[in-house]
């Protein structure tokens, strides 16, 4: 990180989840261009982070939006209620202010009219006086007008004597004259009454909205001279009233919106809660808590939901209990048959053994009969025990007894046990096991049984070619393959090989007298381990069975340490 060139730095920013790399303390000073590059880089990084963060926030919001009915209803209710309340309150406010100002305006105009009449009587002959008397007359009239008061509240008065361009104002307050809008004055100068709303500073210099009414005062005299009177009605009270109303309406708006949204959320909750309870109940039911029921309150739709949920749970529980009962019955039956059949079979077998041992004393036909009796009893026994084993699986009564154990000696024991059969078939058993122990949590009895079955089958179908038994392990799984080089399997055979009582070739002589259930039981044994038993085969190339079991009991398998299909296939040899 000591040489930070621009190129490598750009490449560096491409990775989004960044790890801060501490710089060495004595880093070389950087040139201005490098600094600029660094600043750009940092900016880019910040921007990207912000984008990532925003994206995450949006995703979370979208997730919450889609995930919660309550949130959706609350938000929509709030939006609709908010818009509605704002519109209504705007209209209302407008109405109130119109009413308020209209009344004020009417009173003001009436006041002005009576003021004009009074002024007219006062200044009727003003034109005849000199400028000092004009000013005093105006001033007196202004004071009188103001002191008269009226229905429109306090007001200020300005009177103007206009002679050509000369204007002589007299006002109850100094600032009023300057604050009169020019267009109002122009309109009054034209001889008509007019009013305006305009801000006028009050005694403290604060602008106050004011209703200004102006009117010409008719005088007798030269046409060039005129008297105008202006009334200024400050609207500060009205403004205060409207301010109060506005804030009240605003607060009401917010409260009302929140209230409506709250009601929406509450109502949704009333609906959503029972639905959530039902969902939770269904989930617990699915997890096997068959006694799970919902409380039924009232007679509404939600109560109906709870009732039908409970009815469903009842029916489920009944059926499952029934099935369990049947399964227990089956188990009992299996166990009873086992005992009832096995006891006489033991007696028969012991008797046959005694006869068999004494066969040399009999004549040849009886001796051979004793032999046949003995052999067929063995077959019968094997068939019986296989049938009982498979029915135990069917009844779900098979229990795995896993125990950590080394698979290497287990394989060796099975192979040793099968060596006599292999020798009879002139078949070589080749074992390939790792040099280290392979300790897996398995049910040794079942794994041994599967292996004996696979090796027995391989010897039987192997045409005297060597049978290879390979053990391998990964961190999570152990696998054993049994490969023969016999007649092989067609794809159709491979599909049926685990079927009960299925035979690859009905005409073939069976030398180990299998029951036809061996591979079915093996498959169940593998499944009980959470493992796999699979087959590969090609006509003329032999077959390979692979047993894969997890190293820890109950773990899930994802892969097998050995390939199902042998990596190397020799060319097909024709044998007569």
């Amino acid at each position: 990180m000591s040489t930070t060139t621009g190129d490598s730095a750009v490449g560096d920013t491409d990775q989004v989840p960044r790890v801060a790399v501490p710089r060495p303390p004595d880093r070389p000073r950087r040139s201005p261009s490098e600094l600029r590059a660094a600043v750009r880089r940092r900016l880019r990084r910040t921007r990207r982070r912000a984008i990532v963060r925003t994206g995450r926030l949006i995703r979370r919001a979208v997730h919450a939006w889609r995930g919660s009915l309550q949130l959706r209803v609350g938000a929509i209710t709030m939006l609709v209620a908010g818009v509605l309340v704002v519109v209504v309150s705007l209209v209302l406010f407008r109405q109130i202010s119109d009413q308020l100002l209209g009344a004020k305006q009417r009173a003001a105009i009436a006041q002005s009219l009576s003021g004009v009449q009074y002024a007219q009587s006062e200044v009727g002959g003003i034109a005849t006086g000199d400028s000092a008397s004009i000013r005093s007359t105006l001033q007196r009239t202004v004071e009188n007008l103001q002191s008269r008061g009226g229905a429109a509240g306090d007001f200020d008065v300005v009177m103007v004597y206009r002679s050509g361009d000369d204007e002589r104002p007299a006002s109850s307050r100094r600032d009023i004259w300057a604050a009169l809008p020019a267009d109002l004055r122009a309109q009054v100068a034209d001889g008509s009454q007019a009013y305006r709303y305009a801000p006028v500073s009050d005694a403290g210099g604060r602008p106050v909205p004011t209703l200004l009414v102006g009117a010409p005062v008719p005088t007798e005299g030269q046409s060039g001279d005129r008297v105008e009177v202006y009334f200024a009605f400050p609207l500060d009270q009205e403004q205060a009233t409207l301010e109060g109303i506005r804030s009240t309406v605003g607060i009401t708006c917010v409260v009302l919106t929140l209230f409506v949204a709250g009601i929406g959320v509450l109502v949704t909750r009333l609906v959503v809660d029972p639905v959530r309870r039902a969902a939770g109940g269904a989930q617990r039911l699915a997890e096997g808590h068959l006694e799970e029921r919902l409380a039924v309150r009232g007679e509404d739709d939600l109560a109906r939901l709870a009732t039908s949920f409970n009815a469903m749970a009842d029916s489920l529980q009944r059926q499952i209990t029934q099935l369990e009962g049947l399964s227990q019955l089956q188990q009992r039956f299996t166990s009873d048959v086992s005992h009832e059949l096995r006891t006489p079979l033991t007696t028969v077998q012991m008797a046959a053994s005694v006869l068999h041992e004494a066969r040399e004393d009999f004549d040849p036909a009886v001796a051979r009969s004793a032999e046949l009796l003995q052999n067929e009893l063995n077959r019968f026994e094997m068939l019986l025990s296989d049938l009982l084993e498979i029915s135990r699986y069917d009844a779900g009564a098979a229990v795995l007894e896993p125990e950590p154990q080394d698979l290497v000696p287990l394989v060796a024991r099975v192979v040793e046990g099968m060596s006599a059969l292999a020798a009879r078939h002139d078949c070589e058993l080749r074992v390939l096991t790792p040099p280290v122990p392979v300790i897996a949590e398995v049910d040794g009895r079942r794994v041994g049984r599967v292996l004996r079955n696979l090796v027995g089958n391989a010897i039987e179908h192997g045409r005297g070619e060597p049978v290879e038994i390979t053990l391998a392990a990964s961190s999570s799984a152990a696998a054993i393959t049994v490969r023969d080089h016999g007649i092989g399997l067609t794809p159709a055979d491979a599909q049926h090989v685990f079927d009960r009582f299925w035979r690859a070739d009905a005409s073939r002589v069976r030398t180990i007298g299998g029951s036809g259930l061996g591979l079915s039981i093996s498959l169940e044994d593998a499944r009980l381990h959470g493992g796999w038993l699979q087959v590969w085969g090609l006509p003329g190339q032999g077959a390979q069975f692979r047993l894969t079991v997890p190293m820890t009991a109950g773990a899930e398998l994802t892969s097998s340490p050995l390939p199902l299909r042998p990596p190397f296939l020799p060319p097909v040899r024709s044998r007569s």
Binding site: H339, T343, P344, T347, V354
Partner: protein
């Protein structure tokens, strides 16, 4: 049927057969007699313990499913007063039954249907127990084993072991450095040629530990070697 004692042939030991199936009991009698044992029969579970007290057999062949009294209960009752070898006859291959029988005190079991050879091998193995005795004293931890006297003591207090448990302990103690696989123990203690059921070993190790260990949860005398088997603790 009252207990009957037919006398015939060379007597290699008295075997009490507790079985309700008359044909099987008779057949067992024929086979045992041919091997030179002296069989006695009880068909009713309720009378089995009384017959045992009366006859004092060298070995009990006990069917687990009996009318009158459960075989497991009989097994446990005999064990309270005697260390005589008990071989169960069981029709069930289910582990739970076998384990329960072994836990009730049976030394070994044969699953029906069995052949005469199998049965005789088990009987012979159980009766041979304790025959070959050399003057020998062994120790594991603070447990002292006097082999010829068949006595196990800790701090001078005797610990009552069945002959099988005793043999198991002696087998481990004789080779303190060796780790015994279950198969090896089956061969040495039970006399099995070919690997049979390793549950036999597991259950009897548990029973042994319950008697000789100070804390069976943290064994010091019979140690487990994970994935392999058992070994004796340090002497």
């Amino acid at each position: 049927m009252p207990p009957s004692v037919p006398s015939q042939g060379t007597n290699r030991g008295r075997v009490l057969v507790v079985d309700d199936d008359a044909a099987l009991a008779e057949m067992l009698g024929i086979v045992l007699r041919r091997e030179g044992y002296e069989p006695a029969f009880v068909s009713d579970g309720a009378r089995a313990v009384a017959a045992f007290q009366q006859l004092r057999p060298d070995l009990v062949l006990l069917d687990l499913m009996l009318p009158g009294r459960n075989g497991l209960q009989i097994c446990a009752d005999i064990r309270t007063t005697s260390t005589v070898p008990i071989v169960m006859l069981t029709a069930k291959g289910d582990t739970i039954d076998i384990v329960q029988g072994l836990e009730a005190g049976a030394d070994d079991y044969v699953t029906k249907p069995f052949k005469p050879v199998e049965l005789v091998a088990r009987v012979r193995a159980q009766l041979r127990r304790g025959e070959s005795v050399q003057a020998e004293s062994l120790a594991i931890g603070d447990v002292q084993i006097d082999v010829p006297a068949h006595q196990v003591t800790r701090d001078g207090t005797a610990i009552g072991l069945t002959p099988l448990e005793f043999d198991l302990l002696v087998a481990l103690a004789r080779k303190p450095r060796q780790v015994f696989t279950r198969e090896l123990l089956l061969e040495q203690v039970w006399g099995y040629r070919h690997a049979a059921d390793t549950r036999l070993v597991n259950v009897h190790v548990q029973r042994l530990r319950a008697k000789v260990e100070r804390d069976p949860e943290n064994p010091e005398v019979v140690l487990t070697v994970r994935g392999v088997g058992y070994k004796a603790g340090p002497p």
